[in-house]
């Protein structure tokens, strides 16, 4: 819990300070730390919710999952509950990270913070469902941790947390665009740093410059599909 807040902050301050002075401004009046900050918020939410699936593996390891599976309650609601639980924790972690904004010279208004909350929550639910989906199929703690890290780091690096994702080599562009997290990071950045579709901070898909709502729509699409898969997977596990 603590590590998923501290870790992104390490990135923010160490990368930000180390690379920031060489890189100069990445957009109008936005230095590297300021560019990275919305990404780091997203990364906190992403990591927190994705890792939330571990509670399912944990319950299985200690046998408690069996008590839940034989109970006369719908497994759909258990899967939803697990997802929303880890999403809520991740959202709180994201909000805590937001407190550091003034330290790097970002001053979001109250309205900005309020409009960030649903975006963060949507990302958290999507990645939380992904975590639960994996946890229903990967039975041991060790394997879960390995898979988590093998998926989490590439997904994080290829989601636009650390650099603008336009104008990348083809293979990398492909990976970025099939990554659900990309569509969670982009709108957070659009809200925090301003700039609609077509600005330096936006992303494009099939040549179309994605507006905030376009991104939210794609993320929600990913979220619904992953959630349905997680529910199905939870219902059919033994």
């Amino acid at each position: 819990m603590v590590s998923s807040i501290i870790f992104p902050l390490f990135f923010l301050f160490i990368f930000g300070s180390g690379l920031g002075s060489r890189l100069g401004l990445l957009g109008p009046g936005v230095n590297f730390s300021q560019f990275m900050f919305p990404g780091v918020i997203g990364m906190t939410v992403f990591m927190g919710s994705f890792m939330g699936g571990v509670s399912v593996v944990w319950d299985r390891e200690f046998g408690f999952l069996k008590e839940v599976l034989v109970a006369p309650i719908s497994r759909t609601s258990v899967a939803l509950g697990k997802t929303l639980g880890s999403a809520t924790i991740a959202l709180i972690q994201g909000v805590i990270t937001l407190i550091f904004a003034p330290l790097i010279g970002v001053y979001p208004s109250a309205l900005t913070v309020l409009s960030l909350l649903p975006l963060m929550f949507l990302l958290a639910v999507t990645m939380g469902a992904f975590g639960v989906l994996l946890a229903t199929r990967i039975k041991s703690m060790q394997a879960f941790q390995v898979v988590m890290q093998m998926l989490m780091f590439p997904m994080m690096f290829l989601s636009g947390v650390f650099f603008p994702v336009e104008g990348l080599p083809g293979w990398m562009n492909f990976l970025v665009k099939i990554n659900p997290a990309t569509y969670g990071i982009a709108p957070i950045r659009q809200v925090m740093l301003g700039g609609g579709s077509g600005s330096t901070f936006g992303i494009s898909l099939f040549g179309h410059n994605m507006s905030l709502w376009d991104n939210v729509g794609v993320l929600a699409g990913f979220g619904i599909v992953i959630m349905l898969m997680a529910i199905w997977s939870f219902r059919t596990q033994g």
């Binding site: 200690f62 408690f64 069996k66 008590e67 599976l69 034989v70 006369p72 309650i73 041991s140």
Partner: protein, 329 residues
């Protein structure tokens, strides 16, 4: 002809395959309402799979199982509401207190709030955990955890209580106490008890016993009838050459003897009179000999060709293997 209503569990031609392995191979049986039903068999015989089907955790390949009038495949929720389970492995949340575990259970099993406090107090006092109710479960001993699981299994007044090795690894005192609760429960509440165990003295407490091996039901009867099957008296001999001894017993008396860890066993109708002539006339040097009344263990040995005691070793091996698998995965 018995009325179908007398049966709380009806299993018809149940088959469960895992890939090429047939874990349960065409089993049919009934469990009467309110009885203690013992389900015995060597490890891997299909006991746990059968229980898994009955409590909706395992989907049968074919066949039908009805529990409390509900189909275990199509009416899972009603079946789950009708049963209580005490698993072989612990299934408690050990970060929570005993009380919190019970409250969680009550809420998912729809125990009405008005009677909840009184029920919780009753089951906790019965299992003598009332004083420790506010301690985290991880501070409990193995016996206390098992008792808490039993308390939890009873909390929603299930029609059928499944006890999968309820006393495995517990000390004799705790075993006895748990059995007192189980029998009290059966008498007072009319709960049907579906039991698996490796302890033959526990199996003796059952009203009826089914023995399965290799996924097949071998026999189902009362403990006393089963014991009659094993022959009236059991003679165990240790000889200089046990293999030859088996041959000679067959030749002389036409009795099929079997090997066990303490020599050669066979059954005769009148042991006291048989023994003197047997010792005098036997061609192979006898090292020791004993005579006893048959136990369920003998029944088991006779029917499966294996001793139930070997089970404990097998169970240990299985546990070690399981741990090994977990580590590797």
């Amino acid at each position: 002809m018995r009325n179908m209503d007398d049966y709380i569990i009806t299993v018809e031609n149940l088959v469960k395959k895992f890939g090429a392995l047939t874990a349960v191979n065409d089993i049919s049986f009934n469990v009467k309402s309110g009885e203690i039903f013992g389900f015995l068999g060597p490890n891997g015989a299909g006991k746990t799979t059968t229980i898994g089907v009955l409590c909706t955790l395992v989907q049968p390949t074919s066949g039908r199982a009805i529990l409390n009038g509900f189909n275990v495949v199509h009416q899972q929720s009603q079946v789950r509401q009708s049963i209580g389970l005490v698993f072989q492995d612990p299934s408690l949340d050990d970060q929570l207190t005993g009380l919190q575990n019970l409250r969680f259970h009550a809420s998912v099993y729809n125990v009405p709030g008005s009677i909840l406090a009184q029920r919780i107090e009753h089951v906790l006092k019965m299992t003598e955990l009332w004083d420790r109710r506010n301690n985290q479960v991880r501070t409990y001993s193995g016996g206390m955890k098992r008792r808490l699981e039993i308390a939890r299994g009873l909390l929603h007044h299930p029609k059928v209580l499944f006890l999968d090795e309820p006393t495995l690894g517990l000390d004799p005192q705790t075993r006895n106490r748990i059995w007192e609760y189980i029998i009290e429960l059966q008498r007072k509440e009319g709960t049907t008890i579906f039991l698996t165990t490796h302890y033959m003295d526990e199996a003796d407490k059952a009203d009826r016993i089914a023995i399965i091996d290799y996924g097949k039901l071998i026999v189902m009867d009362t403990p006393s009838n089963l014991k009659k099957m094993a022959g009236s008296d059991i003679i165990s001999v240790k000889t200089a050459d046990d293999d030859r001894a088996i041959g000679e017993i067959k030749l002389r008396y036409g009795i099929e003897a079997s090997r066990s860890s303490n020599g050669v066993n066979f059954g005769v109708t009148n042991g006291e009179e048989f023994l003197p002539s047997f010792i005098k006339g036997f061609g192979i040097p006898i090292l020791s000999v004993s005579l006893r009344r048959p136990s369920l263990e003998d029944v088991f040995l006779k029917l499966t060709g294996r001793e139930i005691r070997e089970e404990n070793v097998d169970a240990m091996k299985a546990m070690v293997q399981m741990h090994g698998r977990r580590m590797r995965r």
